[in-house]
């Protein structure tokens, strides 16, 4: 399991599509630019959904991994696109 330091955790375990994405959006909105969110889910569709969401909104998905049925994502809030 890779790790990353993070400012906030959002627990979406047990929730189905599209709730993890909606809650992620809400949480990321309240965070500061450059802050990292650690997101936990159990929805098997979430790796694809979180990656697509990050790509579309310009936020950076640093890590996406799964261990014993729990998916962990580290997302860096990124206001300016193309500044990687």
């Amino acid at each position: 399991m890779s790790r990353e330091s993070f400012e906030q955790t959002l627990d979406c375990r047990g929730m189905s599509c599209p709730l993890p994405i909606l809650k992620t959006k809400k949480t990321v909105n309240s965070m500061a630019d450059g802050d990292v969110l650690r997101l936990l889910t159990t929805d098997p569709g979430s790796p694809g959904d979180v990656a697509a969401w990050a790509k579309k909104t310009g936020n950076r998905l640093l890590i996406s991994q799964v261990e014993s049925g729990v998916y962990t994502f580290y997302i860096k809030k990124t206001l300016l696109r193309g500044m990687v």
Binding site: S16, P18, K56
Partner: protein
């Protein structure tokens, strides 16, 4: 930075199963920074009522899996083949099927229609009610949730003409 994507959805059906797609796609699109309009017409209009009373009818959905949301894992896997003359004639059958489906959704962590609709509103999804079908079926704006606009085909088409995604649901 690419310009904002636009999504134009038409919600034309108001059963519990068909109530989900417009609100799921609408809220997800808004969460992806897209601009969304949902045009509610015909049987989609009741989805704007303050209280949603959508039901599902197994009788008109022959491929709908009929499983129980309770009991052991093996019991929940049993497919109940209900003959049409029962599902179509037994009073309260749709109500029963509706409560079973709601229970299943809840067990699987799926949001309710009302929750998804609220999330749409929070994310700025625009709801438009079709004026013509409101008149035909006797709907008034005050029975709807706040923030609903009323419009016609041209209003939807003007938005949809520039939209990147258009879906009739």
């Amino acid at each position: 930075m690419s310009e904002t994507k636009k999504v134009a959805l038409i919600a034309s059906r108001g059963t519990l199963d068909w109530a989900y797609p417009p609100f799921i796609l609408g809220s997800a699109a808004a969460a992806m920074d897209m601009e969304v309009m949902i045009f509610f017409t015909f049987y989609g209009l009741p989805l704007l009522n303050k209280k949603i009373e959508a039901k599902v009818s197994p009788h008109s959905n022959p491929a709908m899996p009929m499983r129980m949301p309770f009991g052991s894992k093996e019991f929940q896997q049993i497919e109940w083949n209900i003959p049409n003359f029962i599902s179509g004639n037994m009073p309260g059958f749709d109500t029963m099927a509706t409560s079973l489906m709601k229970e299943t959704f809840k067990n699987k962590g799926v949001a309710t229609i009302e929750e998804l609709r609220d999330l749409c509103v929070d994310c700025g999804v625009k709801f438009v009610a079709c004026q013509m079908t409101m008149d035909v079926f006797g709907f008034t704006k005050d029975q709807f949730i706040d923030g609903v606009e009323v419009g016609g085909a041209a209003m939807f088409l003007e938005f949809a003409a520039d939209a990147d995604i258009q879906l009739f649901l």
